[in-house]
């Protein structure tokens, strides 16, 4: 696309599709505001950009100038950032249009997008089910065909898990590949902006644009943007590891069937398949649920009602302002994690929890290095232990909810790139397979995904 009229028409069509998908509650930006902004952006966009005219929806925990940034929380209701995230600025510089802000679990804490102050997001194929989370709004909009791609964010699987449940492609880059500047922090050492797309190519080309160095983020690597690989004929030469810990005895039989079919196809594509072991995998979820809340408890301290966002009970004194604002502004899941995080960092508990979790995190990362050092290029696993579950089903049991991320948190803990792509359906619901790559070798991972995407029966029953 390089014709302004075409871009304008495309922006209008995207707005129409997004508005039409309103019943999903995936888009937080009101239709009128969205149409107006898309129209303006399409007129202002530079035709030479590689994403010229492409509508990309953005998760609401990524700062934008065009729209409010609420993180799905009441505590940031109406908050308009005076600056935009580096990833968003790069998107716009490439000619893409910011197609509104997508609903998410509050501050990206959740696996079902039920923990949003603005209501839950519906699964596009079954309104009684969840789209996954926390980037459920982005996943649902891509799955519904409203936008070709959307930005999400990951701390423990928040792009890949909803991608798996909604049947789209989700990529989480290596930690440090994409600037976090303007991504509202949850667990800073784990957070990365990721991309969802209808296809590997849509997701990958958006990722390529938003990747690369940024002097505003000290944890962003000084590297050139990701170069997109070409679509390979086969997977000849690839060694793909199958970590046995990701296929436990009690794995959902249908998920196992889907994965086994995928493994067969990988072999047929020419990849050498090898069983490997990542022995510390069972500790990943508990490790994650110490480190992420610890960082969150500190990252969310700034929401105190003093400088921005709504205020509650601010007239008595500053303590009342804090208590009132944070008590009323945060939802129950966020409050739970702040409490957990505060606890594990407290003196007397730090060594038993936070320090221990950091040690375990190092062991988990070492597991991956050991496997990659022995000639394995990529790992293949299920993305999620189940397809989309019913709304409300896991709300009363946080641990059951947390286990939705059992196969995804490891890549965040180890800082590795990973992607999910559809490998089939179970009773009509999509299920994803996961590729985990080596640090900063997203290109290899995407190359393999290109080959896989062509032959995988994404919509066939497993």
């Amino acid at each position: 696309m390089s014709d302004p009229a075409e871009a304008l028409a495309s922006a209008k069509a995207a707005a129409d599709r997004i508005v039409k998908a309103k019943r999903l509650n995936a888009m937080l930006t009101p239709p009128k505001e969205l149409r107006k902004s898309l129209d303006q952006q399409a007129k202002a966009a530079h035709p030479s950009g590689v994403l010229y005219g492409m509508s990309v929806a953005v998760k609401d925990n990524i700062c934008t100038l065009e729209f409010t940034t609420t993180c799905g929380s009441k505590i940031l209701e109406g908050y308009r950032s005076p600056y935009e995230a580096t990833a968003v600025a790069k998107l716009k510089a490439a000619g893409a249009l910011v197609a509104g802000k997508t609903n998410c679990d509050e501050f990206a804490m959740g696996s079902s997008t039920e923990h949003s102050a603005y209501g839950r997001v519906l699964h596009p194929l079954d309104k009684h089910r969840v789209p996954g989370g926390s980037s459920g709004g982005s996943a649902a909009l891509v799955a519904a065909g409203a936008v070709p791609a959307a930005l999400g964010s990951e701390t423990g699987g928040s792009v890949r898990q909803p991608a798996s449940l909604c049947g789209v492609v989700g990529i989480k880059p290596t930690y440090g590949r994409v600037s976090r500047y303007g991504l509202v922090a949850f667990g800073s050492s784990l957070d990365q902006i990721g991309v969802m797309g209808r296809s590997v190519h849509d997701a990958a080309r958006v990722l390529s644009v938003i990747s690369g160095r940024d002097t505003r983020d000290a944890t962003c690597e000084d590297r050139d943007p990701l170069r997109l690989p070409t679509v390979p004929e086969s997977l000849q030469g690839f060694v793909i590891g199958i970590p046995k810990e990701y296929f436990p005895a009690d794995l959902d039989p249908a998920v196992r069937r889907a994965c086994e079919r995928a493994i067969r196809l990988l072999r047929e594509l020419g990849a050498a398949m090898r069983e490997v072991s990542l022995p510390h995998t069972p500790y990943a979820v508990p490790t994650y649920y110490v480190i992420a809340p610890a960082e969150a408890s500190s990252n969310l301290a700034r929401y105190d009602g003093a400088r921005y966002g709504p205020r509650f009970d601010g007239q008595v004194d500053v303590r009342a302002l804090y208590r009132g604002t944070r008590g009323a502004g945060f939802g129950p899941e966020v409050r739970r994690r702040i409490l957990v995080g505060t606890y594990v960092l407290s003196s007397g508990y730090y060594d038993a929890y936070y320090r221990k979790a950091q040690q375990m995190r190092a062991l988990i990362a070492q597991d991956f290095r050991n496997v990659f050092d022995r000639g394995v290029d990529l790992l293949f696993t299920p993305t999620t232990p189940t397809p989309a579950f019913k709304a409300g089903e896991r709300l009363a049991d946080p641990v059951a909810m947390y286990l939705s991320d059992i196969f995804t948190v490891t890549a965040n803990l180890a800082g590795l790139p990973a992607l999910s792509l559809p490998i089939g359906r179970i009773k009509g619901l999509p299920i994803g397979g996961q590729l985990i790559g080596q640090a900063f070798l997203e290109d290899e991972m995407i190359e393999a995904a290109y080959a896989i995407e062509r032959v995988f029966p994404a919509v066939e029953e497993a």
Binding site: S81, Y83, V184, S297, A306, V318, S347, Y350
Partner: protein
Amino acid sequence: MGGGNAWETVIGLETHVQLRTNSKMFCGCSAAFGAAPNTNVCPVCLGLPGALPVPNEQAIRLAVRAALALNCTVHTKSVFARKNYFYPDLPKGYQISQFDQPLATDGSLVFLSPDRGVVTVSIVRLHVEEDAGKSLHDRFPKQTAVDLNRCGVPLVEIVTGPDLRSPQEARAYLLTLKQVLEYTGVSDCDMEKGSLRVDANVSVRRVGETALGTKVEVKNINSFAYVEKALTVERDRQIALREAGGTVVQQTMLYDAKENAVRPQRSKEESHDYRYFPDPDLPPLVLSTELVAEQQATLPELPARKRDRFVAQYALSQQDASVLTASRAVADYYEAVVHAGADAKAAANWVMGEVLADAKAHDDQLRASAGALAQLIGLVRGGTLSHQAAKRVFGEVADRGGDPRNVAEALGLVQVADAGVLAGWVSDVLASQPQEVARYRSGETRLLQFFVGQVMKASRGKADPKLAQRVLEEKLTA
């Protein structure tokens, strides 16, 4: 309190020093003092959602410089940590500091104690952190205003061991620390502007005891003058308490300068658990060997060494050398005067006298150039100007500049060394003082200096005093 019952005071100081950088510690905002409230701010120092810190390299350089000047071991790897607490002038809800892996440890500073002579105080640690904003409680009635300009200004915290033994000694240490930090260009150490702030840990014990008493932290000490006062008040409070059979409770006290008293910090002002943990937004701070070497190489001569050198090189007393090396600017000025040809002793007297007095009256500016002062000293030595006249010329040169000789001539202050002209003044003086002349002639020869003074007065300072004396002697004995 005497003999075996005497109390010993034990003090350790934590000094926060603002680094002299243009921009803040983790963002590009100006670190300047005195701007309109909340104007030197950006998403990073305001702690807006999504903003991230990036360390200021110049601040790191200055911190390394301070550490080297204090003989610390500089660690090539240190870690930024978050210190978590809620306060309205702390927008992120945490301060970025350093905790268990500070930039530098194990240093020392030698200073002259008023009680014990030369004392070496241990520097336990030096770490880098960001300043908080300022809460203004007296600006609006019943409301607290917050100014975030200071938020994110780079600081180093310098922590001593419990090595100081009196409030006076604490003050002397602080002045020496200030001097070292000014010398090295690390900070302007202006307590009035808050660029140097002190918290103290104070305890008392019986002389001879080796275990430390329970310590009390004293905060809110806002000037050098208050350091001694605040610590004295707290020391006296603890001793009185102990003498009365009480026990000291570990707590934080705030010094109230107006009342010259300390009061306990309200418990809710106190933070019980800062929940320090490594800041995940900042990779460990790894210093290159080049950076450390560069700071080491460019470290100036420090005050103690300079003082010793001045004593040796310029034959000055310890006292004079101390005064001349108190600030680097003055020391450099003094040496420039000497290098421009002035006599070292005369230059010292001039700098300690006229120059420092003039600087004090003019914002610490050294207004007359070193070359001009050297020339002026030369004119006095050569007999062209009397000391009195030279002082007038100095003031003139300081105010308006110019060449001292020209100024002296323009003011008509050049000494008259013409015996004929002098003879006129001498005759006038002798004629107007017949009684003194008679006394002189009857043997009171010490009156000669009186006559010299009278001649100087009659000539309005222009007469060459040596020549005047000679002419007087001739006339009086004639």
